[in-house]
């Protein structure tokens, strides 16, 4: 089963629930086999199967709920996101440990989380991401940029929280 581990990991990140992720993966393979005739040889198999997984998620209860709570202005201006000034502290932030990054990723809207994971973890090209998410290349770039800003902002907030705790404990 090609991409099995990676699809499962991606499904867990989308659904935030292992049982639901298992259902998603199982359904993805069933749909892939059933609809294999729709796959065009020579096109991207990975993008095709990830697209099935994502569509399956979007029509699931969790997916519909997540989609309903995502702000509609994902591709709009950067209102609401603090401006990130690169400072020595922010450099330190970006080197932060995996757990902090995991927490920050979890708190991102699904649309930001999925595009970051496809780009950074799956190392998909912008073209592959465009095919997987069915969005134009320009949108891939703008959404990715906003997702990164949101992640850095989330990391900065967590970093500030941690620092305040240390101050409060007199450390």
């Amino acid at each position: 089963m090609p991409h099995f581990e990676r699809l499962y990991n991606f499904a867990c990140w989308l659904a935030h629930d292992r049982e639901e992720a298992e259902d998603l993966v199982q359904e993805t393979y069933a749909k892939a086999l059933k609809g294999f005739s729709s796959f065009q040889p020579g096109t991207n198999f990975r993008a095709w199967i990830y697209k099935i997984l994502r569509n399956t998620f979007l029509t699931s209860r969790t997916g519909l709920k997540a989609n309903a709570t995502v702000p509609l202005d994902l591709e709009g201006e950067d209102e609401g996101l603090p401006v990130i000034r690169e400072t020595p502290e922010s450099f330190l932030l970006q080197r932060s440990d995996g757990q902090l990054v995991q927490q920050a990723l979890e708190q991102l809207p699904v649309a930001y989380r999925e595009i970051l994971l496809l780009c950074e973890l799956e190392e998909m090209s912008y073209q592959e991401i465009s095919a997987t998410l069915v969005i134009p290349m320009g949108t891939v770039m703008s959404r990715l940029s906003r997702a990164r800003k949101a992640l850095r902002s989330g990391l900065q907030q967590q970093f500030a929280k941690g620092r305040n705790k240390m101050v409060n404990h007199g450390l």
């Binding site: 199982q26 393979y29 991207n44 995996g98 990054v101 995991q102």
Partner: protein
């Protein structure tokens, strides 16, 4: 302030998505600008942290078995019709997958999994993540991505050429997947850590004809190698020999 326009494109540059000409100009700028190089370094570190942090969930063996059983239980009629639409490579996948319908040993399952990985990769429009014929480019690309190092053979005076490589997984174990070309046949070489694979699959060395593919596998220096492709047995053996000599 001078660097604002560079910084705006820094992420696209680090994703390798700016045009080649611009990439060279970018390279030159980042090398000479302390502010941009520090920023680029920080962003690369964040990318790497996401890569590590993102690999968080692993499916259980029981779940894998369940999905395999469910796939195997699909009615053959519609299943085979689906594959009939695809080209020759896809037909091979169909044939391979139908093997799941029968009882197979764990070893054969691994061979089929290897064949699946080989075919699925070649069916992809971007079969390799690092595109290079230079082993000195491909080998370092795996650093930090897989938990072991391996040697690539010198191909001068041989018929083989290296097309590139990508990361792969077998039984939840990360490994290297390299693709070679010989007279228009593509051959995959997979390298995994021996101890990470189940013991029942660890024959010292084996050559095998698996459906339409020739496959050779052996263990050397704690690593398990698989060489698979639709090239002749002699080609598979020759490539395997080059790897054995290089390791």
């Amino acid at each position: 302030m001078v660097c604002e326009s560079w910084k705006a494109k820094l992420d696209t540059y680090l994703d390798g998505e700016v045009p080649e000409q611009e990439m060279r100009t970018f390279d030159a700028h980042v090398r000479t600008c302390p502010s941009c190089s520090a920023d680029a370094l920080a962003r690369v570190q964040l990318k790497r942290t996401i890569q590590v942090a993102g690999k968080r969930f692993t499916p259980s063996a029981e779940f894998r078995r369940r999905v395999q059983q469910r796939i195997a239980a699909k009615p053959r009629r519609s299943f085979n019709l689906g594959w009939m639409f695809a080209a020759a490579a896809i037909l091979v996948v169909g044939t391979l997958t139908s093997v799941y319908l029968g009882t197979r040993s764990g070893r054969d399952q691994v061979f089929s999994e290897i064949a699946d990985l080989h075919v699925a990769t070649l069916a992809s429009s971007s079969p390799v993540d690092v595109v290079s014929t230079d082993r000195h480019t491909v080998k370092p690309w795996f650093q930090g991505k897989i938990p072991f190092a391996f040697n690539l053979p010198e191909l001068q005076n041989s018929e083989f050429s290296l097309l590139g490589g990508r990361m792969t997984y077998l039984e939840q174990t990360p490994g290297a997947h390299l693709i070679y070309d010989v007279r228009k046949h593509h051959i995959s070489v997979f390298v995994f850590q021996e101890r990470s694979l189940p013991a029942e699959r660890n024959e010292d060395s084996l050559s095998k004809k698996q459906l339409a593919f020739n496959l050779e596998t052996w263990s050397q220096g704690g690593l398990r190698y698989f060489v698979i492709g639709d090239a002749s047995t002699a080609d598979i053996e020759n490539l395997a020999k080059l790897f054995k000599a290089a390791s």
